[in-house]
């Protein structure tokens, strides 16, 4: 089992070498011609107005918060799902209560308009 994780480490080394190596090899052979307009931001083919340090929509933030809640729930669900067949009815009831609370949370977020895109 530990050997399997060690082989993932080996794959990480291979992947890093591939990603870095291909970029470096490309850097060695590609042309570099300096041009004033080539290095401007390409937005509409026109000169860009303003910078990108602008205020962003808070909606993305709400989704991230909801994601964290449900992803942690998924983390609890996985070990439960592995043993549920051997544990029988009591595990099913317990998880039904847990899922019920989280579903109520989702319903609450829905009702309060957290899922509403403005």
């Amino acid at each position: 089992m530990l050997l399997a994780y060690a082989s993932i480490l080996a794959l990480l080394v291979i992947a890093t070498l591939f990603a870095g190596g291909s970029l470096f090899a490309s850097f060695l052979v590609n042309p570099r011609v300096r041009d004033t307009f080539k290095h401007t931001a390409y937005e509409c083919g026109m000169e860009a107005v303003g910078t990108t340090t602008v205020q962003t929509n808070i909606r993305f933030y709400t989704y991230a918060l909801l994601f964290v809640i449900f992803d942690v729930e998924a983390l609890y669900l996985f070990p439960w799902a592995v043993v549920v067949r051997s544990m029988g009815a009591i595990a099913l009831v317990e998880m039904a209560i847990f899922l019920g609370i989280l579903a109520a949370g989702l319903a609450y977020a829905w009702k309060m308009g957290a899922l509403q895109w403005e």
Partner: protein, 424 residues
Amino acid sequence: MTEEILQPDISGPVFNHANGRLLMPETRYWPTDMWKSPWSLPTYRRGAAVLAGLITGGAAAAWFLGEIGPRLAPVYSFIEAYALAYGVPAVLIQIFWTFIKGGILLLAPLVNALFAVWWERKISAHIQSRMGPMYVGWWHGVLQTVADGIKLFLKEDIVPDCADKIVHWLAPVVVVIPAILVFAPVPFGNELVFADIDIGTVYVFAVGGVSVMGIIMAGWSSGNKFSLLGGLRSAAQLVSYELPRTFAVLPVVMLAGTLNIAEIAGFQAGYWGGIIPRWFIFYPVVGQVAFIVFLIASVAETNRVPFDIPEAESELVAGFNTEYSGMKFALFFLSEFAYVLLSCLLMAAVFFGGGAAPLPFLEFLPSWAWFLSKVLILMFCFLWFRWTFPRFRVDRLMDFNWKFLLPVSLLNIAAGGILIWLLS
């Protein structure tokens, strides 16, 4: 001097530029009314013959090769015996062999990108009554993607002046490393797994999630408002669709009682009544709902149409990869298609029995051949969707996930519990 205008002669037979063959007038263009009597058209008959030949030849080659695992075992024992004779420590041989296997595994996303891009262009073209790439390579432009890859490799790498140079360079690396790493616990056939770890399912979702960070880095560091929007949209979308995708696998895990992907695939071996395969897709209601939720969420996770708002070319130029060129762009492309392959592999392993044959009398073919054919059929669906569904609007996309897919997948877990209770 009058300018000579070239008019195509549409009366007689013409030469096809791609292969120099003489084409008869009725086969010169893709016939748009072929659905009326398809078998009367020579192109249709020839295409069907080529497809049948490819399938038969592939099946014959697969039958001849047999399972790959037993073929590799003598190679390993040969290397081991040779190295041990020269006093090389056994640990070093193991490490060497692991790196060889890792190098072979690295070929999976690379070859997949070369093939899938060509295949996507051909499918797109044929759906739109075009020919697609026809010039590079000896047959229907099969080497087009190789040529494109070489071109991208030799292209200048343009970094905008307003970009954050380090993050701009790091983003494609951060995207592509997880895209290669996710393949470690995924089986390609029976006992054809790189790293047979027990938490395979969780590992795939966890490592695959790291790529989101690279996409946000790309969007943020480009110094381009469209890229920033694309990156943020992609963060919201990928993070949201990750949930139903994870929950869709849970009923399978509950029934199989393991997180190991290879073991989940092995759990589905055998047949009900000697004819219906015990694949998870055939479990009543739970299996079909889980598969459809997983398929939809996978299409969204891979940023493909109809969920391609992070790189919607008609509204955001090219989204998060607008400012990328050359090899960096190639790495983004590679990882995108690597995730398509990963989704197809996962679906084949989890819902379609992995290397199991669909009918008992077809078991003479090796498991990797069945795996590959299932993956190719699923990948065809991915490429087909692009020309079938229009793009979602960004708010509808979020509503669809949070107000439909997520409740459905939660209910499906409950349905899986009921199914287990009925089975016990």
